[in-house]
Amino acid sequence: MSTKGKVHLPVGQEAVEVKGWFGAHKYLVLRRISQAFFLFLFLMGPWFGIWWVKGNLAGSMTFNFLPLNDPLILGQMMAAGHWPETTALIGGLIVLVVYALIGGRIYCSWVCPINPVTDGAHWLHDKLKLQKGWQPKRSARYWILATVLIVSALTGTIAWEVVNPVTMVHRGLVFGMGFVWAMVAAIFVFDLIVARRGWCGHVCPVGAFYSLVGTKSILRISAVKRDACDDCMDCYAVCPENQVISPALKGKGDATPLILSPDCTNCGRCIDVCAMDVFKFTNRFDTHVEAPSDAVSVPEPPNRNAA
């Protein structure tokens, strides 16, 4: 009962053949560049003495003018009973507004320094063909987020900062590692052996927070050419939050082709690996679906009629 006449190719292989290596890795490469860029901004000071950006992801000051602050940390601070000064409030507000517009979890896939670690763990996980392992519910992270805020309120501290690997790794890289490498190793092993896509996909309350921030974000991925889909499943295989795909891709008729789940990290890997170019970045108001006739012009015609 194979769905296709051809043999199973490795994930993304078909896209590489159709679009070339770069075409099939465009957003991955862009994402790595983006992650390196945001890290480099902070490293220019300590490495080269160019202090355009000072601080770290928890709070920073750019050109001695633009404050940026992690709103989740400010939220914990307020829960702990400290009202931040105006600088931090403005910094937090800017971050909130930006991510509310472009998608909260853009932070996860384009900025967060833990993302390359968990992506690396997943890559090795696939190579070694390991079991899924422990898969707590995707909603676990929202519970953890609530717990973090409650613990902050009860202890009067910014509780998650005691363990938050995101800020720890970033701070470690910019200010000095200490034992942060152990934290990185722990996350890697957790994702590799304990739980596939465990940290970013199930546990991290920072990601959960940014999901909530980006619930109504403008920038979205849409399965505009969903009728061209040949069910190769590569997008599901490559997506770190693959529960978000089906409603858009498998929607029929008037069902929106937009991936509207706030869990989507806008990483763009589905666009990369799709040989049929089903997906593209667009805005949340763009609900049009391209006519199936377009699919005919695609180099490798789908043989779903045969299935």
Binding site: G59, H82, P84, G172, F179, V180
Partner: protein, 288 residues
């Protein structure tokens, strides 16, 4: 319809068990997290917070560990605590006086850099900072206490003659020298740690300690009678009976008259003192 109702029932049951499971898991994880935050509150005694830092409890609610104070410190005094180091809560700023003390910048750039108010902007005069209190912890090895004139802590103190003074004490050992004892006056000491840094001993005899360790506290109801009297310009308690004071010397009746010495008595003049009597032992007369 029956199956639909059954579905609903099962869904609800699953929802309840899932929720209960999550809640229990979060209670466990949350307790662990709470324990870790408590642990993080243990600030080592020789880690000094930057000037204007809120009290440690309030500080940990306010500090986002961004390191902007560290970046704006011109003397590289401040550092962020590394993870796993036996030190302050990870990522929070502090300094170690013996390594690099606080140079007490006039404009206090670290406080200005703090975006959240963990370093209180109310501190505008660095001389009012209370990062800690210097304590001469080891009189037995302090060179000044041994009778030498080291004086380094006194000389380097940015608050010289206010935070540290040299008080003269008789040197019992030599019998005819003075000891220039460095005395810290905690109200004026900012805890900058320059004295600790500059102490010439291999292990400093003067150290900056957290105020909670360095200082005692008087009972809330304590009043210093002499201060109250000065403030009021009259005895605090009206109509108090002034009893005779016992004076040094042999015997049991070396008593001075209430109100102190009466000129007439001491001089043996015939005038009758009010209720006074002449002590057997007299203090030597002070010649002016």
């Amino acid at each position: 319809m029956a199956t639909a109702g059954q579905h609903k029932h099962i869904d609800r049951r699953r929802f309840m068990t899932d929720s209960a499971r999550m809640a229990a898991g979060c209670a466990v994880a949350g307790s662990l997290l709470a324990y870790m935050t408590r642990d993080a509150k243990a600030l080592p005694d020789q880690a000094i917070r930057p000037p204007g830092a809120l009290g440690e409890d309030a500080f940990l609610a306010a500090c986002i560990r961004c390191g902007l104070c560290v970046r704006d410190c011109p003397y590289d005094t401040l550092v962020l605590a590394d993870l796993g180091q036996d030190g302050p809560a990870t990522g929070t700023p502090y300094f170690t006086a013996r390594d690099v003390p606080c140079e007490m910048c006039d404009d206090i750039p670290c406080v200005l850099a703090c975006p959240t108010g963990a370093l209180d902007k109310g501190l505008t005069n660095i001389e009012h900072a209370q990062m800690g209190t210097a304590v001469l912890v080891d009189q037995e090895n302090c060179l000044n206490y041994l009778g030498l004139r080291c004086d380094v802590c006194y000389r380097v103190c940015p608050m010289i003659d206010e935070a540290i003074t040299l008080d003269l004490i008789h040197n019992e050992r030599s019998g005819h020298h003075a000891i220039f004892a460095p005395i810290v006056h905690a109200d004026a000491c900012t805890g900058c740690g320059i004295c600790e840094k500059k102490c010439v001993l291999p292990e400093p005899a003067i150290k900056v300690l957290p105020v909670r360790l360095a200082r005692g506290a008087p009972g809330e109801h304590y009043r210093l009678g002499w201060e109250e009297k000065d403030a009021k310009g009259a005895p605090v308690v009206e109509g108090i009976i002034d009893l005779p004071d016992r004076l040094p010397g042999p015997g049991t009746d070396n008593l001075a008259a209430p109100g102190g010495y009466i000129e007439g008595l001491v001089d043996g003049l015939p005038s009758t003192p009010e209720g006074g009597f002449e002590p057997v032992f007299k203090l030597p007369e002070v010649t002016k």
